[in-house]
């Protein structure tokens, strides 16, 4: 009895623009977008109008004004009182990138070590790694930064009583001073030989891999590479009378001059950021390794691979597929958390630009918008890189 009605429903509907699902969703999306855009325009416009009415300057012209302030740590480009606010912006970005990259580097190494250590059969190692993770990731990061900063400041001696390691390395309250290599004439030939050696190493490793694929014979690649690199470079350096000059830090007046310098603020921030993030990375690594089925290990052991070979050749490459996505978010967290630098006077972007520059110009809206877009850009860049790496590592259908 119901058959008739059913047939009616199945009939193709008339071609009505408003009843087409595609068109409707297009229409709704357009309306929402127009509303959002007009809301943003209204907010921006109203802000500008109100600021003008209240006698507050706005716009981005301030970027080209003289900043009149100095910045304490300038490893890349210079900044003096006569530089512009834009220059301070760039200095801030560079200092943020410095701490983020170093932090990611150390956090990754530490995180992998702790994560693998947590799964160790050695009771002492696994318990130590386990307690490290539980303690570090459950204490607020800001407190850890303060802890390291004040611990560093309490322990280190004054400049005049620096810890002196072979008259080259000095450690005191104002930082770690290390010799800085300065190339002399003849350095270019050393550099050339170095590059040639590296090319030779790459060729050798390709040959070794091909030979292993064909014959199954292994080649001691590590030792060979080291020899190919060191011997020619040493000989050419010797012939050129070692064309590298080490600029030693020397105590002059209040402080050491010359050489590289790591300020205590950077050290404390790096310690806190990388130890904190490493605790999370370690858990990602553990989950990645545990995701590999036991059969893989057993099969690898059955064909005679050693424990370290199983880890390096079988487990880690597969585990990486599980590890990389959460690792990306840890990298993003670390980058964003680096803005806590402001608490301990490390001149990063938030400290220099959203701090001093904001204060001196009073242009909070523009400066905070710029600062937020820098973090957004950095985060998106990291995501992009990691997604690219992820797709390179992902399982390929063969």
């Amino acid at each position: 009895m119901n058959t008739n009605t059913n047939i009616n429903i199945i009939k193709p509907p008339k071609e009505d623009l408003f009843k087409s699902g595609k068109f409707r969703s297009f229409l709704i999306q357009s309306i929402v977008m127009i509303l959002v855009i007009s809301f943003i325009t209204w907010v921006v416009n109203n802000t500008a109008t109100n600021m003008t009415a209240n006698g507050i300057a706005h716009g981005f012209d301030f970027l080209w004004e003289t900043s009149w302030f100095d910045i304490g740590y300038l490893p890349f480009i210079d900044h003096t009182g006569s530089s512009t606010y834009f220059n301070a912006f760039i200095v801030g970005i560079l200092n943020t990138i410095l701490v983020a990259l170093l932090g990611i580097f150390f956090a990754t190494i530490l995180g992998f070590l702790i994560g693998i250590g947590r799964l160790s059969d050695n009771w002492l190692v696994s318990t130590f790694c386990g307690s490290y993770i539980e303690v570090i990731r459950n204490v607020p990061l800001l407190l850890q930064i303060f802890f390291w900063y004040h611990a560093v400041l309490r322990i280190l001696p004054r400049a005049k009583n620096s810890l002196n390691i072979g008259d080259s390395f000095f450690l005191n309250l104002k930082g770690l001073f290390i010799p800085k290599p300065i190339p002399e004439t003849g350095f270019n030939s050393v550099l050339l030989i170095g590059i040639l050696s590296i090319i030779a190493i790459i060729i050798t490793s390709i040959w070794a891999k091909r030979r292993q694929n064909l014959t199954g014979k292994q080649f001691p690649m590590f030792i060979t590479s080291l020899l190919i690199l060191i011997i020619p470079v040493f000989i050419i350096s010797y012939l050129n009378d070692f064309p590298m000059f080490w600029e030693q830090p020397v105590l002059k007046g209040f402080n050491f001059k010359g050489g590289f310098r790591l300020i205590p603020e950077l050290v404390a921030l790096l310690l806190a950021l990388s130890m904190y993030t490493a605790a999370f990375i370690a858990e990602n690594v553990r989950s990645g390794i545990l995701a590999i089925s036991k059969g893989q290990r057993e099969a690898a052991a059955a064909v005679g691979l050693t424990n370290s070979q199983i880890l390096r050749l079988i487990v880690i490459p597969q585990a990486m597929r599980v590890i990389i996505p959460p690792l990306t978010s840890q990298y993003l967290n670390l980058t964003k958390n680096s803005s806590l630098a402001v608490a301990i006077a490390y001149p990063d972007l938030v400290h220099v630009f959203a701090g001093t520059a904001l204060m001196q110009t009073g242009q909070a809206v523009e400066i905070l918008a710029m600062t937020m877009s820098v973090y957004l850009t950095l985060s998106l860049l990291i995501s992009l890189l990691m997604n690219w790496y992820n797709s390179a590592m992902a399982l390929k259908d063969r």
């Binding site: 507050i56 402080n255 803005s339 918008a369």
Partner: protein, 343 residues
């Protein structure tokens, strides 16, 4: 400061965008609220600092108390907002409080560029340097290459850059957000030098572990006229703050204190000037939108400028700043304090 923190500031800035641009009437808002909202420091002895019981006191706090006395006849109707140097102006212009009385230097760009009005000076200061005595330095010109701890968002940071540049010296600024962190880092030895306004150095020296190990160098490298700040665009409110402060300065000049103001008021032979100021004859308060006894209440409850000074920063306080011979003496005694006539 975390990203979430930035968002918070950004949100408070956005209040500007939502608030209407109608002409503000801070006085009637304050009257209907029943108390004055006052931005102060996060703790600077002598200027604005909570005492052992948590009550705010200091020469900056007294300005707000005097305004409260002038409006409500009660100096205690004040709500305090401790703010950092960095956020003090944004929060004032966003309307979180109505007077900023927080050792704030009067400068051209602040006055003209970020929507502020400065209402006179309650303390003339100048920037100086504090060092460890063991450093063996006797002049700021010997500080080439030193590390200097300084507070962010202050004129101090700029004066410091100017001074070292003008004298061809290098230095390393170590910049903190809170005054307490500056002192802690200096005290730990991270910096050779601590710089801020000299009154601030006197106050913060008392916060170091061994105050006697430190000395303030003789140079004064800047002019720092500190005074109460209000939003631009509400002249009647700014007038109240300006004239209340000047009533206290006038009382100091004419020698009328909180203890003698009653007898002057009841004295039929008092000068016409005093009859006018205290509201016995005429009504100066009406021009300001206040009661007749606005100045009487402020002087009676807070004291004249001299009382304020001696109570919080004078020789009998830990700051030990002598008033005689300083710019903070009255103009008749060779200082800079000079109030326009109240008539």
């Amino acid at each position: 400061m975390k990203i979430s923190h930035i968002l918070k500031i950004f949100a408070s800035v956005l209040i500007l965008s939502v608030g209407s641009s109608a002409i503000a009437d801070t006085l009637s808002d304050t009257k209907s609220r029943g108390h004055v909202r006052c931005g102060v420091s996060q703790g600077l002895p002598g200027f604005s600092n909570p005492d052992a019981d948590g009550n705010w006191e200091g020469i900056d706090v007294d300005v707000c108390r005097a305004v409260s006395a002038a409006i409500f006849g009660d100096a205690d109707k004040v709500e305090y907002f401790p703010v950092s140097a960095k956020e003090r102006f944004t929060k004032l212009t966003a309307g979180e409080y109505d007077i900023l009385s927080r050792n704030t230097t009067w400068t051209l760009s602040r006055d003209a560029k970020i929507g502020l009005t400065f209402n006179g000076v309650n303390f003339y200061d100048g920037q100086g340097f504090m060092v460890r005595k063991s450093l063996g330095v006797s002049s700021a010109l010997e500080l080439d290459g030193a590390s200097v701890c300084v507070n962010t968002g202050t004129t101090t940071e700029l004066n410091l850059a100017d001074y070292f540049r003008a004298n061809g010296m290098s230095y390393e600024p170590v910049v903190f957000e809170k005054a307490d962190e500056v002192v802690a880092a200096y005290d730990a030895g991270r910096c050779d030098v601590h710089t801020t306004d000299k009154s601030g150095l006197a106050a913060q020296r008392t916060k170091t572990a061994q105050p006697d190990d430190h000395m303030v160098l003789p140079e004064t490298i800047s002019k720092e006229p500190l005074g109460p700040v209000t939003r631009e665009g509400d002249e009647p409110w700014s007038d109240i703050v300006f004239w209340v402060l000047n009533a206290l300065i006038t009382a100091d000049e004419l020698g009328v204190s909180s203890s003698s103001v009653d007898s002057v008021k009841n004295d039929a032979d008092a000068t016409p000037e005093w009859k006018r100021i205290l509201g016995v004859e005429g009504d100066t308060g009406a021009h300001l939108g206040l009661g007749k006894e606005w100045a009487y209440n402020a002087i009676k409850q807070v004291g004249n400028y001299g009382e304020m000074y001696e109570r919080h920063v004078g020789m009998n306080t830990p700051l030990e700043l002598a008033r005689d011979g300083s710019p903070n003496a009255g103009w008749k005694n060779g200082g800079l304090l000079y109030a326009p006539p109240i008539r």
